[in-house]
Structure formats: structure tokens, C-alpha cells
């Protein structure tokens, strides 16, 4: 397979890259351009602070609070940043809502733009040539590969992230979750359902 196959399939490429990356970091540090402590913190933020748990909290809040959902769909950055409990959303975030009539799917055909503030780092498949090439022309085929089938009459809306606007899909709240707490609902929200390549966990699955 071509681009973006998993790097562990390219052992020699990886070890060569490790050496070259280490050398470049040494040079940039010695020349005073970068601070290794800042680099460590960037990595630590991704490892411990930023991830899809943030987006899941936003979605669950939208499911239980209609006023929050209205504000989220109007200005997602502002609405998310009223919640607290996570680092402020830095991006120009746009929330798009799935309905029985419309299913939303997010892609970046030109590179791999992704709503990192609320989902963390993208998975390899999101950055891969198969996804970037096909999401806009064969979204049903792509969804089928993720095991997602939509009702015959559903429209599919694809959002190509060609600028510095970032998209968060608000999936439909699963049936059978009436009366659930925000925390219980958060556990149903997967990363993929906020990209549009998945649907939330079904309640039985979540309570197992």
C-alpha cells in the first residue's frame, strides 16, 4: 500500500528517521531555536490532556441541554469554552448535527486538518490516501468499511476542511438513553462518531 501505511511496516525507514529526527532536534536546540522543555510539554499535552474525551463531553452536553446545543451549533468555539474542565478550544470550531435526514462526514482532502482541540491527534486512517481520496466521491463505500450503513433516504454531507475552520460532528443521541446522566452519555461518544465514520456506542455495549 502507498502513503501513510502504518510505520511499523517500514522498520528500516523508522530507524533511519529516528536517527535523523534526533540529529535535527540536537541541531535546532544547539542553535537556540527550540527549547526541549517546550517540546516535551507539547508531547505531554497530546498524551495526557487533549483527546476525544473533550469532544465527547461537548456532545453529551448538547444531548442533554437544548440551549447549549443551540449555542454550540451557532458558535462551537464559544459554546465549548463555556464548559470548563479542559484546555480552551483554540480553533474556529464548527459543530454539525446529524439528523435522521442528514449524516455528516469530515475529511481534509488536501492534507489532514482535524479538530485537534476537541479530538486530539487524528488516527492514521484519517491521514491516509484512501480516506482523503474517497470520502468526497464514495462516502457510502467508506462508511461501509467502517460498518456504518445509513437509511436509504439519508443524505450524506461531506465537509472538506480546506481552511482553518474545523468540524465536529454531533451524532444523534442513541435511543434508550432517556434519563441518563451527562457522564453516562459521554461514555457512548466515540472519536469516530464525531468524525462521521461511526455511530455512538449502543447503551447495552456501554454498560457492559
Amino acid at each position: 500500500m502507498p502513503a501513510d501505511n502504518h510505520t511499523h511496516d517500514h522498520g528500516s525507514e523508522l530507524s533511519e528517521m529516528q536517527l535523523r529526527v534526533h540529529a535535527l532536534e540536537t541541531i535546532l536546540t544547539e542553535k537556540g531555536y527550540v527549547d526541549p522543555a517546550a517540546l516535551d510539554q507539547i508531547v505531554e499535552n497530546f498524551e495526557t490532556r487533549i483527546g476525544p474525551h473533550i469532544g465527547a463531553q461537548v456532545v453529551a452536553r448538547a444531548w442533554i441541554d437544548p440551549d447549549f446545543k443551540r449555542r454550540l451549533l451557532d458558535d462551537a468555539t464559544a459554546a465549548a469554552n463555556t464548559m470548563g474542565g479542559f484546555d480552551p478550544v483554540a480553533a474556529h470550531l464548527i459543530a454539525v448535527e446529524n439528523t435522521p435526514e442528514v449524516h455528516n462526514l469530515v475529511v481534509c482532502t488536501l492534507c489532514s486538518c482535524y479538530p485537534a482541540s476537541v479530538l486530539g491527534l487524528p488516527p492514521v486512517w484519517y491521514k491516509s490516501a484512501p480516506y482523503r481520496s474517497r470520502a468526497v466521491i464514495d462516502p457510502k463505500g467508506v462508511l461501509a468499511e467502517f460498518g456504518v450503513t445509513l437509511p436509504e433516504e439519508a443524505q450524506i454531507r461531506i465537509w472538506d476542511s480546506t481552511a482553518e475552520t474545523r468540524f465536529l460532528v454531533v451524532p444523534m443521541r442513541p435511543v434508550g438513553t432517556e434519563g441518563w446522566s451527562e457522564e453516562q452519555l459521554t461514555a457512548l461518544v466515540t472519536r469516530d462518531c464525531m468524525i462521521g465514520t461511526g455511530v455512538p456506542r449502543v447503551p447495552q455495549e456501554a454498560t457492559r
Binding site: M17, A23, A38, H92, L110, V124, W125, A163, E164
Partner: protein, 218 residues
Amino acid sequence: MTNSVHDMGGMHGFGPVEAEPNEPLFHAACEARVRALQRAMEATGVWTLDGFRAAQELLPAVTYLSSSYYARWFRALERQVVRHGLVGEDEIVAGRALRPGVRLNRKLTLDDVKEGGIRTFERPATAPARFKSGDAVRTKNINPTTHTRLPRYARDKLGAVEAVRGCHVFPDTAAIGAGENPQWLYAVVFTGRELWGEEADPAIKVSIEAFEPYLSPA
């Protein structure tokens, strides 16, 4: 470069999308370092985010396709530090600094990273928006040899403005050191049939985020 292999929307032949179960955040420590290095170097302001994207697009097509995501970032990063005169080719070969660095205006600190902060590409408008929601527009047929964010599949297509996003840094100029040149940004939506022909699935709509210079009234 605009018409290079990075512009993948609508291409065939790359095979199925394969998700990796229990995928780790990084597949090797060096991937994390590459991501952090690019973030720190971008913060110096020597190049822009779009300049970094353009550097990846300038990689030979075969290299672009055969490299992992972070290998591509690394190659582009190495290219940028040399091209902008921050590091010598001899230093890359030596694997260490052979002379002091040039003076830069900014350096990303630990406090900067801890604080996070809003990173916005929105800028004050210098002219009124030319289009409004509901307007019919046709994307231009442009083929610049420099960076653009108008994908090939969405050129010379009839669409509708769905939202006005504000005035944003214009990638086409920001990438080549020609300034932020802020432009109005719109969500423009197309039918699947407009993009892919009469055989296309009528249930599909695709939108791009289009800068005003990409659009003509229709």
C-alpha cells in the same frame, strides 16, 4: 505546488480505508518529536502554517506517497530549516550545530505551551463581503504553481454559499511569504452530481471552505 498528489479528493486506486485497532497516539517516539519540532519552529514565525503545507506539497510525488505522515513532516521540516537559512546542509550531514544560530524574533517557551491560548486565523475585514448565504457562485478554474486551498475536484463548479465564516489569512499568499492578505471565507456547497457527473449518488453533498478570490458570481 497546487496540482500535485497531495490534492487527493476524488482519486481512485488507493484501496480501502484500513483502521488500526487500538492505534497508539504515536507509532514511535520520533513521531512525537517531529510534531513538537514543527510546532516550535512554526512559532518562531520564520514560516507560516501554509508555508509548511506547501513544503510538503513540494516533495517529489513518489516521496510524498511512499512516506508515512510524520516522515513527510520531517522531510518538509528539514527542507524548511535549510531553505530559510537557519541550518546549513553541512550541519544536517554532521548531525550537530557547526556555528551559532541566527537571531529569531520569537522562541516557543514552556510557559507558552502550558498556557495554550487561542490561535486564530481570523483577521479584521478590509472590505465588505462580496457574497452572502444563498448566493450562487462558480469556483474559478485556477492552476497556480504555488500553494492553493482550492482542490482540483471543486474547480469550475457551480455551488451555493451556505455560510460566511469571516475574514481569514489567505493561504495562497501566506504560503509564499507574500503576506496574510486576509480574505472572506465561505462554506460553499456542491451537489455530488455537479462534482462527479450524472452517475453520482444524488444523496451526496460536499462543501469546501472557499476564500473569496476562488469564487465568481453565478
